[in-house]
Amino acid sequence: MRQSFRGSRWPIPALLPLLGACIVDWTEVGEPALVIASATVVLTVDPMDSTVRSTDVLAYLVRDSADDRVQGASVRIVDRSGRSLRLEELPNSREVCRPEGATAEGTCYVASVPSAYFEPLAELSLQVALPDGRQLSGTSTIPGLFHALTTVLRDGRCRADPETNYRIRWNPIRGAWAYIAEAEFKGLRRNLWDSQKPLYLTAAWMAAPPHRMGFPRTLIEGDVPFNARKAARRLESGLPWGVTVDLAVAAIDRNWANWIRPGQVHVAGKVPVPSVFGDGTGMFGTAVRWTATIESRDAKDETGLVDCDMVGVSSG
């Protein structure tokens, strides 16, 4: 009977038999539980006039132990003028902070603030005091104002031609270390995307941001899920007719960029560059984003949508 050599695609398992047997030895070592703080401040701006429409402040604290909640902490964000924003602990983190499918509970801290509580380019510091006296801190500068140069929206929506690739441009953002584009594609035919959920694709520019992206082609140049490859190939030539896309483009600060970029290689996995220091680790990142909904319709369709007025590029 022929044996299958399947499983991990990575070659290390294939390599190990060449070395002979491997033995795992182990030693018990008690270590204090590690506290990780992940705090973000996101400004949402109108892409047409750059006004700040909302400010979202959130901190998620988790401990590396069986009970991973971090309750009773004092979490504050302080701007350069000394104005302090205290974040309140949520009794249930599930909806706001906890990712779908995650087993960790953690503790979520949020703040309700006016739309323009923080301004672009504000210098902020995060201060976390844990009930046991341990402290964590970090600093961040919010990226500058952000608006689209080519896209025309009305109430955040516009119409694009099917089977066309566009170029979306925006202004260079002061203080931005990277740009992220995310899109959810709705209305794809079942033979392209066999799921009840929208197709989610993302792209990021870390080095020398071009301040523009191809739409939708750039989104399929990033990591594409295995089951989305067929849809991705279809999207190479533009949006199919009838597809609606929720698009977000964000400029992120240094800390956020360092957190999501590929970092130092370690046998245990990815090592992000931390921006929270002290008695724990984590990230304190800030971002400025705008969002849009783009529908793929013929120009003669009477949807009432404004044309996105994006620059068309080759559809090949």
Binding site: L18, V24, T27, E182, R229
Partner: protein, 895 residues
Amino acid sequence: MLPTRAGLLAALALVTSVIAAPLAAQKPQEVALLRGQTGVEPEPGSLLATPAGLTVGQLPLAAALTRLSERSRVQIAFSPSLLPTGHQVACECATLNIARALDHMLEGTELGYVELGPQVIVVPLAPPEAPRFDATIRGRVRTEVAIPLEDATAILRPAGDSTGERMAFTDGLGFFAFHDLAAGAYELTVGRLGYAGHDEAVTVAPGGVVEVGIALAVRPVPVEGIQVDGLGERDRARFRESAAGAPMEMDRAGVRSIPGAAEADPVRTVDALPGVTRVSEIGASFNVRGGSADQNLVLLDGVPIFNPFHMLGIFSVFNADMVKRTQLRSGGFAPEYGGRASSVLLVESDLGDGKFGVDAGLSLLTARLSVSGGLPEEVRDGFGLAAARWRISGRRSYADVLANPFLSADFPYHLRDRQFGFEAWTRGGSRLGITYYSGTDAFNLTAYERLEHSTRNQELHPEQDVTWRWGNRALGFSWTRPGSNGGSLDVHGSYSRFEGDFNLSEFGSPMLETAIRRLSLGADLEVRPTAAFRWKSGLGLEALEHSDESRGELESLVRSGRSTGLGASAYSQFNWSPNPRWLMEGGLRLDHWFDSGTSTSPRIALKRFLWDGRWAVRLDAGRYVQFLQSVRDESLPIALDSWVLAGNEVTPLVSRQFQGGLEGFFGTDDEWFASAVGFHRGYEGLATRNWADDPGVRSDDFKSGTGRSFGAEFLLRRGKGATKGWVSVSLLKATRKFPHPGRAGIDNIVPAVEYAPAFDRRLALDLVVQRRLPWSVEGGLRWSFGTGLPFTRHATYSVNPRRMIDLRPGGREQVVWLGPRNGERYPAHHRLDISLRKVIRKRWGVVTPWLNVLNVYNRRNVVLFYEYIDYYGQTGRRGLSLVPILPTLGVEVSF
């Protein structure tokens, strides 16, 4: 100025007691200058011509001289203290004159006579004319087919005198020389293992130079067991000739006798030498005296090899069948070696003896074959060659060949390498050498991807390719013109490249392409104007190019980019022995890189021989500059080098090094060698990746730091006899200092982080024993101990980056938190490996089955820790141990 006659007589009066003379004013010092003669033909009428008229039988010499003076009536003066005690003479001198009588009486003594005025004075004989030690006998030793023989032993004895024996060894061009000889007849004996001895009588005139050309005939001799005695003699020769610490050398037999994981590995064995450590138990890259692995220059017949490892560093690319010897220069190396700061590992190919031969081997990992031979006479004649030899080898792993019939998809990995060496000698004596190496590792997982797709009823896209392929290719040539006095002119060039291609898929999956290429051309001139002075200078040009392209997660390994560099170098060095007690080496190296400017590397070494010349103290200092650095994280067990060339982004690495110690030979026939060495190294311009660099700025992609290492090494080695080996103890403390990786630019304060690098093994002990055992079995044993290497504590945890579309938590991602860099240490490492090789001689050749047992007592040496949380929420740490007790076996065939 000669003393006056009156003065001499006066002086003589002070020391004589037999005959008093009015000479009191003479000075004793002047008397001491008088020298006598024997066999003098006296002038007629002189005192010496006076008839002796004496016959005496067995009288003391003093009495006989007194009797002679009385009978002849000639005043004969002598000092009794000069006469040998107990010397009795008998003389039938009645018919002889005084000169002949004195000849007879003084025979067998150191005395003579001189006629001085009215006296004949008996005084010490005039010394013979002082011999001149200004003659030279030199020559070259070749095989019958005119191939120069290295390491042949030349022994020179004065004719008829076995006590004045001198010994010399031939160099790589077969040259040997005996300087400062007295004129006369000598017997020259030249021999080498495997060749018939050669005896020749040589006569040299005062100040003369005699050149001999010697051809040794092949005469195979059965050798039982390990034969590395010649290495012991080479040790002695290097000890005498090298001021900056004798390089440590291992020949093929030595390499094979040290147990290896899968097969003999010339590079893996170097960590048994003092001062050498290895970060990973499974990796072959090594660290010398606190230097990182990229600071080691690895040369195959003079051609640099980048990433000289298979299987991402598990063992080296060098096939032991092709290796004649390896030589490690762990510090104080001469200016002729540039570009690396820590050590030079020379790997020298063995091209055979010009006759057809085959070596083959089979291990658990690879099958290998090498064939050697020469050129037919008509071909040699056609090219004007006196001799030529070559060897070609191939090696390939065979696990895929064995496994594929039983697998649904092809086994994904194989390695192969090919090596070729050629050497020819023109009739004019010039040497032409060519070296070629090509090696490839390949992981091809496309078949598994296809299989995985098929289980999902999906088709793999035709463009999808999941292949990793990497390897070296190197080509070198050299032309050498030997000089008559042992020097040479050498012109050489080389091309060496390493390329790796790691494609995983389409659609933005991780991808990495890396390449480094080097082209060089150079010339060296060595002259030996005197026996005590050697001078060597050289010029070189090199072009370097490296390019990396990475995507996805592999961006962490290698940063995308391309850079080129053009460099020129010049050096001049000398080796001077002003007298037998002192040896001095020194020189200067200039390197110019067109993006980095010029750097100067002076180096000096002094050696003072002690006692009978078998011991010496030495001290050397030098500056070493490295323009090409690897920013590979050495704490990873296996990885590729990621190179960065000095220029706009990083500065050249500069290392200032001092070392000194005591070393010498002892024991019968000097079979023992011992050394104690201390060293200090400072580093500036060490480069490392800046993980928090601004993605839009290239100039901050690397950080520059400093480093320091110091320590001591002790070696006791037995190089001769049935049991050979060594024990070495190495002490090291190394540190590195870099700006904090995450805080630069945030607080406008960049604190420095000082830590022990991954290779900072504070204490290492190695015991290596090679012994001939009964039944033609060669035994090898290695026990190594090392204190724990530093590591960085880490923990894994999940993060949930927010989606920008709805600001909800995105998918969970597992990331790693790192504690203080290298803030903890692994447990101590120790391991015992043994090897047994049975030499079976057949009429057609030699078969050598071998068995290695690694980690005989199954020590679980931890290579990495990982954190975990158990069911009850308790955190802990698990250690991963590779290499359990592991027997490996293989066979070698040679004919």
